[in-house]
């Protein structure tokens, strides 16, 4: 098992090679987790595969950076859940160092000094609920079961490419028939719950079960992650369901940190891709996909270097795939229109900290375990909804919602002994600010997030050794994600399944022969899942037969 970072091995290995003169069967544009997954599958199928990554390291939005000696920051994406088991097994990821560290807890300060703390023992969780509300104790069991039933019903849709509703060949008709058959097999109560989640608000769904404001607040929080919706907005139910889909280690809705952060995970993917024979070229920003007579012939880098291949796979989002890498005039108008209408509207930011020691939550002075998983700072539905309000009018939350994680509690490699790193996902931070810009607001915004942490963890500010503020503009600049949207296209019903990334183009091909898409902007994308890339490569290999 090699532990040398791929940013180094890729460069060293390729220094002596003139990759541009070599023959490639496939070129992957973008070395994020989907690009690397696609490269691994393509190489595994025997295709000579080249990954072109714009930055000096692979990983895209799933990177870990040592911003301070010994302190590893998960700059952007910070947790694993939706990664599909087939990818772990088919790409031999365990051999290359795959090590998910399951979160032992989920911690929710209730805003009044008290807290909710959940773990793997259901009975103990019920007691935790009962401490706040006797009414909500059995509601908690039914809520989880009802959501799990919906997850089970929806899961097969995640494991297959969406059928082409408008396709006319027999395979398309068979796919549509399969979908109808599957839907008809779903129990009517489960189907009704599914539609309530897919179209309604997280608050409406959750409040049908829970009466206690903090218990409801805990449960809606996954309904707003990464999306310009509040918990009371229709559509937040869909975002909540998506996050409940996470199946890691066999437990629905459970999350893990990867050893070394999500950058540790993309290093594993890169090593797997290389082991299958893929080549990774860093600092290679692609300017354009080259085409002739409606076919792709390769790519050109910004420095003019050209690489030829009959297959080019874009791991970038739809905006870049269809309007920047290729000339939109070569594409049908309805596709280009749909791509231009796609909502990105990033509202998420990160504020990451290096800490001198663990923070203190006064009600749990001697405990560490409550810091082992997600720390959910958004006590009630109203708190999160009010945090959302500001973003509607082009400003960031005065008291933001924060999903924090002190990864060094379960992964001691992330910080020097006794020290810690804390990743804070902070919402809402709209990509476009009205009357100012992010460069001017960066530190004030960081102060705002830190003030919220200070409320819950008195003395927090004294522990901070270093702070990194990652604005939506930073996300866009460094990862290429349009408007800093972490899902490469918002989770809105008109942007999912048949419509992801555009009606009629949800099956990984594009109107240009040999040009494919495999990023998180394609089904079932968003989150560190790898499925878009796996399904895209299935499509590519089918087309080559």
């Amino acid at each position: 098992m090699s532990e040398t970072p791929v940013s180094e091995t890729a460069v060293n290995e390729n220094q002596s090679r003139d990759l541009a003169s070599e023959h490639w069967d496939a070129i992957v544009v973008g070395g994020g987790h989907n690009g690397l997954t696609a490269a691994a599958y393509l190489a595994k199928s025997g295709m000579r595969t080249l990954v072109l990554e714009q930055r000096h390291l692979v990983g895209g939005a799933a990177i870990t950076e040592e911003l301070r000696p010994g302190f590893s920051f998960t700059t952007f994406s910070y947790a694993l859940s939706l990664l599909r088991p087939e990818i772990i097994h088919e790409l031999d990821l365990v051999e290359h160092g795959f090590m998910p560290l399951m979160m032992p807890s989920s911690f929710h300060p209730t805003g009044d000094g008290d807290y909710l703390l959940f773990g793997d023992d259901t009975d103990q969780n019920v007691q935790m609920i009962r401490r706040h509300s006797r009414h909500d104790a059995d509601a908690y069991l039914r809520f989880n079961h009802d959501v799990d039933e919906v997850v089970q019903a929806v899961q097969p849709l995640f494991d297959n490419a969406p059928p082409d509703l408008w396709g006319t060949d027999p395979q398309d008709e068979a796919d549509v028939a399969w979908l109808l058959g599957h839907l008809r097999g779903i129990d009517k109560r489960v189907m009704h719950n599914a539609v309530r989640l897919l179209t309604g608000s997280a608050a409406d769904f959750v409040e049908d079960y829970f009466e206690h404001p903090a218990i409801a607040g805990y449960h809606i929080s996954s309904g707003v992650i990464g999306s310009k919706v509040g918990p009371m907005s229709p559509g937040s139910g869909l975002v909540m369901l998506f996050h409940k889909m996470g199946e890691h280690d066999g437990h629905l809705g459970s999350w893990a940190f990867h050893r070394g952060g999500n950058g540790g995970f993309t290093q594993v993917l890169a090593r797997a891709a290389q082991a299958f024979g893929a080549t990774i070229r860093l600092e290679s920003p692609v300017e354009a996909v080259l085409t002739r007579d409606g076919r792709t012939t390769g790519v050109a880098l910004q420095d003019g270097t050209e690489f030829s291949a009959p297959v080019v796979v874009s791991a970038l989002d739809a905006r870049r795939t269809f309007t920047q890498l290729v000339d939109p005039r070569e594409l049908p108008d309805d596709l280009v229109d749909a791509v231009r209408r796609t909502k990105y509207r990033g509202v998420s930011s990160k504020v990451n900290f290096a800490l001198d020691t663990l923070p203190t939550f006064p009600a749990l002075p001697d405990s560490v375990d409550h810091f082992g998983g997600f720390i959910n700072i958004g006590p009630t539905i109203e708190y999160v909804e009010r945090a959302f309000d500001a973003s509607k009018y082009g400003w960031y939350s005065e008291r933001p919602y924060i999903d924090a994680a002190i990864q060094s509690v379960v992964d001691p490699d992330m910080a020097p002994p006794g020290k810690h790193v804390m990743s804070c996902f902070v919402q809402y931070a709209p990509y476009e600010l009205r009357g100012s810009d992010w460069e001017s607001e960066r530190e004030r915004f960081g102060d705002t997030a830190q003030a919220v942490l200070e409320e819950h963890f008195p003395g927090f500010g004294d522990l901070v050794l270093q702070r990194e503020v990652v604005t939506p503009v930073d996300i866009e600049t460094h990862t290429g994600l349009t408007e800093g949207n972490i899902f490469a296209g918002e989770f809105l019903a008109p942007q999912m399944y048949f419509f992801r990334p555009a009606p009629g183009w949800s099956r990984y091909a594009t109107p240009i022969d040999g040009y494919y898409q495999c990023g998180s902007g394609t089904h079932p994308g968003g989150c560190v899942m790898g499925s878009p890339a796996r399904l895209a490569v299935q499509r590519i290999l089918n087309d080559r037969r």
């Binding site: 998910p100 399951m102 032992p104 066999g250 629905l252 001691p412 490699d413």
Partner: protein, 400 residues
């Protein structure tokens, strides 16, 4: 009345579950927190401590100590040098396995054998006229296992002795003012050490370890996590993988070293090396009469998911090892083996097991069917044989 180990007073303070089992008459923690999985991850990626004190400990001394042990243990101990330890079995005179343990050689005439079960009468009965001292020191020492990739750093803060130990080396050292033995041994299949500590010093040594481990997120781990770790490591457990031959009712419950997957321990037996049971074992080797072979199995995760989804269930993926045997069948449905341990491995993200199959089926990659139940009905799910261990990180045997 149930006893407690010399580490118990402190470890019980760290146990927020109060779930114990009885191990050799001692309270032994099943888990310390709400789920053993997190204790398991501490060992696979950080460091954990396990109280293994209930093990029996027999000190064997005198000029004939080596000769005596050579005659009763399956492992050839004649080349076990001072400062080394060795895992071994012992058998009855029909060549069936009784127990297992680790033999620590402190000096030419000073050895300690650990055992999960009492063995003094049996050892004494085989002493004959040899000049051997045999003493039960079980209650005089506690044993603390410090396991996981960070174990060497935690111990390194307290003693320089651990840094240089190769796997199965041992050395005397001082921790917290106590004379202890540190050995690079354990039951987790990971980098790890065990400290053998005089009873009166146990809490002092444990406190020093906890303090040194604080900044490395050290956790105590219980029997449930240990069971997960040892199955991944392919390490057999008495009363799960086999039954002590002297306590079994039927030969169906008994296994030979070869059948248990410990054929590697039989060096020199064909050439005439003798110990209790060696004649029968030699005949088994010469005639190829082994009934079983031990192998790993890996369940086809797709088949597992399909089986449950088709029944309208969420696929269960429970890291708690099954508490019962599962049958293995061939394509024709005939029973050709049985899985003794089955669990869902959090690192490998698939169901794995330790199984016994007919020797002709032990070739890695052999397709078999594991019997399970779904909605009150029996069903089978595809699996295949794989070599053990399931998980063997390089650090397990590399120099840290």
């Amino acid at each position: 009345m149930v006893a407690t180990t010399p580490f118990h007073d402190r470890l019980s303070e760290l146990n927020d579950q109060r779930l114990y089992t009885h191990w050799q008459g001692h309270l032994s923690a099943l888990r310390y927190t709400h789920a053993p999985k997190h204790e398991y991850f501490a060992v696979r990626h950080g460091v954990g401590v396990f109280d293994t004190s209930p093990l029996y400990k027999y000190r064997i001394t005198g000029p004939d100590a080596e000769r005596f042990l050579s005659g009763v243990l399956v492992r050839d101990v004649s080349d076990l040098r001072e400062g080394r330890a060795a895992y071994t079995l012992w058998c009855d005179d029909r060549g069936f396995v009784m127990e297992d343990g680790v033999l620590f050689r402190h000096g030419a005439e000073d050895l300690v054998l650990t055992s999960a079960r009492p063995a003094l009468a049996w050892l004494t009965a085989h002493r004959g006229p040899l000049k051997v001292g045999l003493e039960d020191e079980t209650d005089a020492y506690g044993i603390l296992a410090v396991q996981g990739p960070r174990s060497v750093r935690v111990l390194g803060a307290l003693t320089a002795a651990a840094d240089h130990l190769r796997r199965f080396d041992l050395a005397p050292t001082t921790i917290a003012g106590a004379e202890v033995t540190v050995s690079r041994t354990g039951f987790t299949g990971d980098l790890g050490y065990e400290l053998t500590v005089p009873r009166r010093n146990c809490l002092d040594v444990l406190d020093a370890i906890l303090e040194a481990g604080r900044d490395h997120q050290l956790r105590p781990f219980g029997e449930e996590a240990l069971d997960m770790l040892r199955i991944e490591a392919g390490l057999p457990l008495v009363d799960v993988e086999w039954t002590d031959s002297t306590l079994a009712w039927s030969d169906e419950q008994r296994v030979t070293p070869t059948e248990l997957g410990m054929g590697w321990m039989l060096r020199g037996v064909r050439e005439g090396r003798r110990f209790v049971g060696s004649d029968a074992i030699r005949r088994e080797l010469e005639t190829g009469s082994s009934r079983w072979a031990t192998t790993g199995i890996v369940v086809d995760w797709r088949a597992w998911d399909r089986l449950h989804r088709d029944a309208g269930l969420l696929p269960t993926k429970d890291e708690h090892p099954l508490g019962w045997e599962s049958w293995l069948r061939d394509d024709s449905g005939e029973q050709v083996g049985y899985a003794t341990s089955v669990m869902y491995s959090p690192v490998l993200q698939r169901h794995i097991g330790i199984a016994r199959v007919r020797p002709r089926l032990a070739e890695p990659g052999t397709g078999l069917h594991l019997e399970t139940t779904v909605l009150h009905r029996t069903a089978t799910v595809a699996c295949q044989t794989v070599p053990l261990p399931h998980f063997a990180p390089q650090r397990r045997s590399a120099m840290p």
